[in-house]
C-alpha cells in the first residue's frame, strides 16, 4: 500500500526539504508573502497542469496548451479593448472557444485514431497561428475591472496575500481532485489510461471520455489564459511559449506515469510548486543565473523518471520492466 503513494511522498518530501533548505539559507523565505507569491506566480501553470494531468492519466498528451493560453490572452485583449466587450462576456467566449478547440482535437484523435502527440502539435500551430492573425502586437488591457480584479485578494498578517489567480488555482486543484477520485468520469479516465482495450470491453465510453478530457484540458488552458492576462494585464500571441513542457515536467515530477493510468492531481500541484520554488530560490540568491533553473529542472526530471522506473520494476517483479518503448 505504501508503494502506491511512494512517488507522491517523495515529491512532497522534496518540496518540504527544498523549502526548509531555502528558509535555512534566507530567513525571509519562510514568510506568508513568499508563499503567496509562489502561488500567484505559478497560478496559470498550475491550472494548465491540472488539465495536462487528466490528459496524461488517460494515456494521451496535449502539446497545444501553451498556444491556447497565448491565443486566449490575445482574444481577450481584442474583444475587450478593440471590441468594447465587458470582460465577463469576453471570458465566457474565450472559455467556450478554448474548450471547443480541445474537444475538436479530442474528436480527431478518437475518430481518426491518430497519435495525440501529433494532433495536438497541429493544434499548437493552429492556436499560435490564430493568435498571430488576431494581432502580433502586445495589447494592454486597460478595463477598470481588470485593475479591480488584480487587487482582489485575501490578505493575511505580514504582507501575505492570496490573490484571485492563486485562489482560482487552489479551487481548480480541489475540484480536480474530487473529479479524478470520486466521479465516474475520473474512474473512466484511469481505466482508459490503464488499458484502453480492457476499458472498452468493460463498457467505458472511450470516445466520450477522450473528447471530454481534451475539452477539459482546453477549457483549463483557456482559464489559465484568463489568469495570465489578469497577471500581465495584456494580451500577446507569443505569451506562454514553452508552457506545455513546463506542465508536462510538473506532471512527471508529481509522480504521474506518462504511459497513463496512474497518478494524482495533487502530485502535479506539488510538482508546480517545486518548479516555482527553484525559480524563487534563484531570484533570492541573485548571483545564480537564470539558466540554472532549466538545468535544475532537467536534473529533477531525470531523477523522478528514474525513481518511477525503479518503482515500476519493483511492482512488476521483473528487472527493468519493458514499458512499451
Amino acid at each position: 500500500m505504501i508503494h502506491r503513494f511512494l512517488p507522491l511522498l517523495v515529491t512532497s518530501a522534496v518540496l518540504v526539504v527544498g523549502f526548509l533548505l531555502c528558509a535555512a539559507q534566507f530567513p525571509a523565505f519562510a514568510s506568508l508573502r513568499v508563499v503567496g507569491n509562489l502561488l500567484t506566480d505559478n497560478a496559470f501553470l498550475g491550472i494548465t497542469a491540472v488539465g495536462m494531468t487528466f490528459v496524461i492519466l488517460s494515456g494521451g498528451i496535449d502539446l497545444s496548451v501553451g498556444a491556447v493560453i497565448g491565443f486566449t490572452t490575445v482574444l481577450l485583449a481584442v474583444l475587450i479593448e478593440q471590441g468594447g466587450w465587458h470582460p465577463f462576456s469576453a471570458f465566457a467566449v474565450a472559455l467556450a472557444v478554448a474548450g471547443g478547440f480541445g474537444a475538436a482535437m479530442g474528436a480527431v484523435i478518437h475518430v481518426f485514431q491518430m497519435p495525440p502527440f501529433i494532433v495536438t502539435l497541429a493544434g499548437m500551430f493552429v492556436a499560435r497561428g490564430l493568435g498571430f492573425v488576431l494581432s502580433t502586437d502586445s495589447i494592454p488591457i486597460n478595463h477598470p475591472l481588470y485593475a479591480e480584479m488584480g487587487d482582489m485578494a485575501l490578505r493575511f498578517d505580514g504582507g501575505g496575500k492570496l490573490t484571485l489567480p492563486a485562489l482560482l488555482m487552489l479551487g481548480v486543484v480541489a475540484a480536480a481532485v474530487v473529479c479524478a477520485h470520486w466521479t465516474r468520469f475520473g474512474a473512466n479516465l484511469y481505466a482508459l489510461g490503464g488499458n484502453r482495450q480492457s476499458a472498452e470491453l468493460m463498457g467505458v465510453p472511450v470516445g466520450r471520455t477522450t473528447v471530454a478530457v481534451y475539452a477539459l484540458s482546453g477549457l483549463l488552458a483557456g482559464l489559465a489564459g484568463i489568469v495570465f492576462s489578469l497577471y500581465t494585464g495584456a494580451g500577446y500571441s507569443l505569451a506562454a511559449t514553452g508552457v506545455e513542457l513546463d506542465t508536462i515536467t510538473a506532471v512527471v515530477i508529481g509522480g504521474t506515469q506518462l504511459t497513463g493510468g496512474y497518478g494524482y492531481v495533487i502530485g502535479t500541484f506539488i510538482g508546480v510548486l517545486i518548479q516555482g520554488l527553484i525559480q524563487t530560490y534563484i531570484t533570492f540568491d541573485g548571483s545564480l543565473s537564470s539558466w540554472w533553473t532549466k538545468i535544475a529542472i532537467g536534473v529533477l526530471l531525470f531523477v523522478f523518471i528514474l525513481l518511477q522506473k525503479g518503482l515500476l520494476a519493483v511492482w512488476t517483479g521483473r528487472g527493468g520492466a519493458p514499458a512499451e518503448a
Binding site: F112, F117, A122, F125, G129, F132, L301, E324, A325
Partner: protein, 351 residues
C-alpha cells in the same frame, strides 16, 4: 531513395506531387521563382534560397527519420543545435582553430545523442520523456557555455560553412546532400536500415530474432545528435554567432513535421530518408511562397497545421478504410499489449 525496399511510385508520388504543386504555385505567384543566376561564383535565386533555408530542418529530419522509424522521437534536437552552436562560437572566439572547433562541437552533439540513446535503450524510458529532459536542460547547458551572452565571431573559416559555396552551390545545401548520401549508404547498403525498421515494428520480436536492439537504438539517437550538431553549426556559421536562447527553437517540431509529411509513420517501421528531406523542402517552399505572395507570415503556422492534418488524415487507419487500397496493404498493428501507448490503433478498436 537509392534502393529503398518498398518505396513504389504509389507511395512516393504524394510527396513529390506536393513539392511540385507548391513550387508551381510559387511560380504562378512569382514568375521569377525559377530564375537562377550566377554571381560571385555562387548561385542565387528563390529556388536556391528554398534549398539553403531548408537545410537546417532537412539536416534534422535525416536524423529524426531514423529515430521515428524505431518508434521513437527526439525532442532535444533544437537544444542540441543550440549547444553545438554555442560550443563552436565560444571556442572560435577563444582562438581555437577550425578543426578542433568542429570536432568539439560535433562531439558535443554525439554526447547528447549518446545520453538520449542510453536513456531510451538501457533505462527503457519512453522516448518523448527521455528526450524531454535534454530539451529542457540542453538550452540551459547552451546558455551555460555562452554565459548567457550572444557570442559572435569573425572567423571566415567557420563562417564558410554557413555562407560559403562549393562549386557554386551554397555550403548548407552541399552539407545536407553529403550527410543524406552518407546516411543513405549506411542504412541501405548494410542491414542497419532493416534492423531499424524491425526495432520500430516490434522491439521484443526483433530482439528475439537476434537484433541487438540497445545498440541499434543508441546508434540511431547518436546519429540524430550528430545531425542536430551539424545543423547547429550551419545556423551558427550562417549568422556568425550563437544565440543559446533562440538557436533551433521549435525546430524539433518542424523536423518531426518534415518526417511526417515525408510519409514515415510515427508508429515506426518503414522510413524514407529522401522523402523526409523532400518534406522539409515542401515546408520551406510553402514558407517562401507565403512570404513572396505578400501574405502575412502569421498565416504560415496555420498553413503548416493544415498540411499536417491533411497528411495525417491520409495516413489515418479510419479514413483509409473508405479509400481503395493499393495492392500492398500496410502491416496491421498487433493488438496493444498492456501498458501500450493508447495511440497504437488496434484492429478490433473500430468504435
Amino acid at each position: 531513395m537509392t534502393r529503398s525496399v518498398s518505396s513504389g511510385p504509389s507511395r512516393t508520388l504524394p510527396q513529390y506531387g506536393a513539392l511540385a504543386a507548391v513550387l508551381l504555385a510559387n511560380w504562378l505567384l512569382f514568375p521569377d521563382f525559377f530564375s537562377i543566376r550566377l554571381q560571385d561564383g555562387r548561385l542565387f535565386g528563390s529556388l536556391i534560397d528554398v534549398l539553403n533555408r531548408g537545410a537546417p530542418v532537412a539536416l534534422l529530419a535525416i536524423g529524426m527519420t531514423m529515430v521515428i522509424a524505431t518508434r521513437g522521437v527526439d525532442l532535444s534536437v533544437g537544444a542540441v543545435m543550440a549547444i553545438s552552436g554555442a560550443v563552436a562560437a565560444t571556442l572560435t572566439q577563444a582562438g581555437w582553430g577550425l578543426t578542433p572547433v568542429l570536432a568539439a562541437s560535433l562531439g558535443a552533439g554525439l554526447l547528447c545523442g549518446l545520453w538520449n540513446g542510453l536513456l531510451v535503450a538501457v533505462l527503457r524510458i519512453q522516448p518523448i520523456i527521455a528526450t524531454l529532459i535534454l530539451m529542457v536542460a540542453g538550452r540551459g547547458i547552451a546558455q551555460l557555455v555562452t554565459e548567457g551572452q550572444i557570442v559572435t565571431f569573425t572567423s571566415p573559416d567557420l563562417a564558410f560553412i554557413g555562407s560559403g559555396s562549393f562549386l557554386t552551390v551554397p555550403m548548407p545545401v552541399v552539407i545536407t546532400a553529403v550527410l543524406l548520401g552518407v546516411t543513405a549508404l549506411l542504412v541501405r547498403m548494410t542491414a542497419l536500415g532493416l534492423m531499424i525498421e524491425a526495432v520500430g515494428v516490434n522491439r521484443l520480436s526483433s530482439a528475439g530474432a537476434g537484433v541487438n536492439t540497445p545498440v541499434v537504438l543508441i546508434a540511431v539517437y547518436v546519429w540524430c545528435g550528430l545531425c542536430a550538431a551539424v545543423a547547429g553549426l550551419v545556423v551558427a556559421a550562417d549568422i556568425r554567432g550563437a544565440d543559446a536562447n533562440n538557436a533551433g527553437l521549435w525546430l524539433e517540431l518542424d523536423a518531426i513535421l518534415a518526417v511526417v509529411v515525408g510519409g514515415t509513420s510515427l508508429l515506426g517501421g518503414r522510413f524514407g530518408l529522401l522523402l523526409s528531406v523532400v518534406g522539409a523542402l515542401i515546408l520551406q517552399a510553402m514558407n517562401t511562397g507565403i512570404l513572396l505572395s505578400g501574405f502575412k507570415p502569421e498565416f504560415n503556422l496555420i498553413v503548416k497545421a493544415g498540411v499536417l492534418m491533411i497528411v495525417l488524415l491520409l495516413q489515418s487507419p479510419t479514413l483509409t478504410l473508405f479509400l481503395p487500397r493499393p495492392a500492398r496493404p500496410r502491416p496491421v498493428q498487433p493488438p496493444a499489449p498492456s501498458r501500450a501507448k493508447p495511440e497504437s490503433p488496434s484492429p478490433s478498436a473500430g468504435a
